[in-house]
Amino acid sequence: MLNKYLCEVVYSEKLAEDIVALTVVNKQLAEKAVAGQFLHIKCGHSRILRRPISICSIRASAIEIVFEIKGEGTRWLSRRKHGSFLDVLGPLGNGYDMPEGKAIVVGGGLGVPPMLFAADSARNDVAAILGFRSHDRVILHKEFEAVCEKVIVTTEDGSYGKKGTAIEPLRALLASGEYSCVMACGAPLMLRAVAQICKELGAPLQVSLEERMGCGVGACLVCACATKIDGEDEMSRVCMDGPVFSADVVNWDNI
């Protein structure tokens, strides 16, 4: 259910260059939110578009979000001090369906933070595969260690963890037969590769997609994502029909 809340900023931390973690407090919001959902945050009076940011973790009333400073809006957000308040719409979107069996969560870059909440909310043991460009971009490794039975970190240049992408470890873990499903968030290219492997190996996959948003609640239709539902081409709303989609309905040719 859509609602608007004021959230108090209680903590902020720089996790990497231009990547910021912000902890805000709101009891009602924290009680309602599930993994995969996002907050639509007003970023100052001079910007009319809110910024959609997925939830990284929840501890009691404290909600942590992690985002990259990409433009003026996120820069404004990164400068919020302890004690200031944020105007937040949320929790928005549908969230992950938590599976029965053991799951693998896959995160790439800024797709890593929402997977922490997913791993933490899973009913059974979870393996996490976290892919980054290089050592200086690695975030949340320890936090995943705390909630997962296994964590594999990869970097493209091999400066931290395994060299390569999240794709090879995913193939190996799925081949072990220990895991029954996958949840993933990351860049479209990575998600497409993940979808291909899951299809090949018959593992159900849920993906969280990103798109520039307007209203955030399903009314304006700007955050469109090409889908195929019951054989029909559709444009689904990332904010309302997603951001989590079954990989089966995503039209990967148009992502």
Binding site: K4, E211, G218, C225, M240
Partner: protein
């Protein structure tokens, strides 16, 4: 005692605030936040005869105090609207205005007849969408185009017809008179201003459609000027919109000649904007000791 109600083109509105087409879906989303019966009216998402998937993303870009969109009239089609959405909207005590578009004059007439028969309260004829190849702006930027569409819709519609005008014209007064001349019961303006942004890292336009429509507070002064010019040129009532974000903006629209005021992009910033604006108008009227909106509408005192 303040009376916010008014008669607009033969339809009774409980208050002068209407949500603008394309920013409020079919009411279901914001209906989770507040009772839609509090609104004067709802202009639904633009409808076409057949369903449309709309343009490729990215469909939105930001601008200083504004935004660009290029949704491209994504909608489920008139039949699905009547079947799935109209019954829901009818539960609320508010005026339902169907916004319609077509590729040809004949299509405008067909969809107008269909929705008028389905008993929407009013039609808003969109001759001003900047985001579609055929129809839309092609009709809205010439006297002949506006005349032909207005005439065709007016002939078949049993409900009042309001024509939504584009700001992307040289002389808005002449376009407004063209709509009035063919029997439009009202006009609404402005639709979005054709606009562009470029990503300097990729050297590509920020929107997949290259260009889109600018809305939000950035366009309010332009909208106000055009509402004033159009309202001064015709006798039919005017729905003023374009960047309205506060009660003061709405009162400026009334003074410039608008009888109803549309609120659109402001909802993205603050979903409660329409209700906040209704309260602010009420407060202004109380403070100014004004009982009826008619004592504000068009009461601009020129220098």
């Amino acid at each position: 005692m303040i009376d916010l109600s008014l008669n607009f083109a033969g339809i009774k509105f409980k208050n002068p605030i209407v949500t603008a087409s394309g920013t409020f879906g079919f009411g279901r989303e914001y209906g989770q936040l507040y009772d839609l019966s509090k609104l004067g009216g709802i202009c639904v998402k633009g409808l076409t005869l057949a369903p449309r998937l709309g343009n490729k993303p990215a469909r939105i870009a930001e601008a200083p105090m504004g935004m660009l969109n290029s949704v491209g009239l994504q909608n489920p089609g008139a039949d699905a609207f009547i079947r799935d959405e109209l019954t829901f909207l009818r539960k609320f005590d508010t005026v339902i205005i169907a916004n319609i578009s077509g590729n040809t004059v004949e299509e405008y007439a067909q969809i107008a007849e269909k929705l008028s028969d389905a008993k929407v309260d009013m039609l808003e004829v969109n001759v001003s969408c900047p985001n579609v190849k055929a129809g839309g702006l092609q009709f809205g930027t010439t006297v002949q185009g506006v005349s032909s569409v207005t005439k065709a819709v007016r002939e078949v519609s049993k409900v009042p017809v309001m024509v939504k005008l584009s700001p992307n014209v040289t002389d808005i007064a002449e376009i407004a008179r063209a709509a009035e001349g063919e029997g439009a019961d009202a006009i609404s303006l402005i639709n979005t201003l054709l606009a562009m942004r470029i990503d300097t890292l990729t050297r590509k336009p920020s929107l997949a459609n290259n260009v889109g429509g600018l809305s939000g507070p950035a366009i309010f002064p332009v909208a106000l000027r055009m509402v004033w010019q159009a309202a001064s040129a015709v006798k039919i009532p005017v729905l003023g919109m374009g960047g309205v974000a506060s009660g003061n903006d709405a009162v400026e629209m009334f003074l410039a000649g608008a009888s109803l005021v549309g609120v659109g992009t402001a909802c993205f910033d603050d979903p409660y904007a329409p209700l906040r604006i209704i309260s602010a108008i009420e407060k202004y009227m109380t403070d100014q000791n004004i009982t009826f909106l008619s004592d504000l509408i068009g009461r601009l005192e020129l220098n």
